[in-house]
């Protein structure tokens, strides 16, 4: 009877130890899983809240022939809810990447904003030798993608693609 009692104790303690460690592992796994899910949810939510759009007259995108090389000027509005980073931007004209050296940005408005917040307009001037061969009224495709600044440790990107007509 005494032997039976001891072995029962041993089994009980073993069961407790096993269940405790399993619980600990489960809790840890669940925590990390839920953390990852939350992170992903935040990323998805952030992606929903980031947006940029072409602003202005798509039939009147200025191409300046007086410069060397020619310059194309257009405007982009931050239509999302979070601040975007104008220094982390990629621009493609007719599928061709414009090197960052040929991209300059200026905030528009009075007083002039200092960061690309929601509803802030930015002027983008592109300079590239390939523009010299474009006709004055050429239709070109503009693709812009921009990274956001970090929001609660997460950042995302927004982009737009627009077909526009140059006005030389």
């Amino acid at each position: 009877m005494a032997d039976g009692g001891v072995s029962t104790y041993i089994m009980l303690i073993t069961a407790l130890l096993v269940s405790s460690s399993v619980s600990a592992v489960l809790i840890q796994e669940w925590s990390s899983t839920s953390r990852v899910i939350q992170q992903q949810q935040r990323g998805i939510q952030l992606a929903e809240e980031l947006s940029i759009d072409f602003a202005g007259d798509p039939m009147n995108v200025n191409i300046d022939r007086s410069t060397t090389p020619d310059e194309i000027t257009f405007y982009v509005l931050n239509t999302g809810e979070h601040r975007m980073d104008e220094n982390q931007m990629e621009i493609l004209i007719d599928g061709q990447v414009i090197p960052s050296l040929g991209v300059s940005t200026t905030f528009v408005g009075s007083p002039t904003p200092s960061s690309w917040d929601s509803m802030v307009l930015i002027e983008i001037v592109l300079s590239n030798n390939s523009f010299d061969s474009l006709n004055n009224d050429a239709d070109v495709s503009i693709f812009v993608t921009v990274n956001s600044e970090e929001v609660a440790g997460v950042s995302g990107s927004a982009s737009f693609n627009s077909e526009v007509r140059l006005n030389g």
Binding site: Q41, A55, D57, G109, M119
Partner: protein, 234 residues
């Protein structure tokens, strides 16, 4: 023995409660972020219409005359302008006289009209019955101040109000400025003050620009959020 089993059960129970609590909190967090996403996705895009845009260049914005050119022998009357056979879009102004001299401080333009170009028009001075006056000494008006006038009406067709500070205006795709900043005339409904543009509200816009500094615009574009509308001037 019984007590030990009870304690063991308690520990297991507490562990399960902890797991359950964490599961619930994670579920809550997911639901909250999901609801936020749904909420942000449900904001409708701005919707508005440009009802009309009328541009008139070489509008007679102001008339003046120098001292000594006010003439004599005039009575209160009406001033008209023409360039050749063009009657400057029906330009008309009323004036009063003091001792037979035209009182230039009381020339009130009732129709600014628009001339075919910026050359000084020929002035015709009528009495109030539109009979050309025959003064003893003819008055000479100076070259008028010409401006470019743009009239537009825009209506918010969306469900939500828009802020005029968040609506951008482009002239032939360039020179963007907010709707608020674009309006600096007392004849505009906004007059440079940011305001709410409510659902269903039509705003009357008016620009008077130095015509010497501005080309004749062909298209006006309005951008509010992701919505852009463009209209040719007429």
């Amino acid at each position: 023995m019984g007590a030990s089993a009870g304690i063991g059960g308690l520990i297991i129970g507490i562990a399960m409660l902890v797991v359950f609590t964490m599961a619930i909190s994670a579920f809550d967090a997911q639901v909250a972020t999901g609801l936020d996403a749904i909420e942000s996705a449900s904001v409708p895009d701005p919707s508005f219409t440009i009802d009309d845009v009328n541009l008139e260049q070489h509008v007679i914005h102001e008339v003046s005359m120098t001292a000594g050119n006010r003439g004599t022998g005039y009575v209160d009357g009406i001033l008209r302008a023409n360039v050749g056979s063009d009657e400057c879009g029906g330009f008309s102004a009323t004036f009063s006289t003091t001792g037979g001299e035209i009182d230039v401080g009381n020339v009130v333009i009732t129709n600014h009209g628009f001339c075919p170009d910026s050359s000084t028009p020929t002035w015709t001075i009528y009495d109030s019955s539109l009979v050309v006056q025959t003064p003893s000494s003819v008055a000479n008006f100076s070259a008028p101040v010409f401006r470019q006038y743009i009239y537009a009406n825009i209506t918010n067709q969306g469900e939500d109000f828009l802020k005029t500070d968040d609506v951008w205006v482009f002239y032939d795709g360039e020179e963007p400025e907010t709707l608020t900043d674009s309006q600096d005339s007392t004849r505009s409904e906004i007059l440079g003050v940011g305001t709410n543009w409510y659902s269903g509200q039509t705003i009357q816009l008016f620009w008077d620009d130095e015509s010497s500094l501005n080309t004749e615009y062909e298209r006006l574009a309005f951008t509010a959020g992701p919505t852009t509308l463009v209209r040719s001037t007429s």
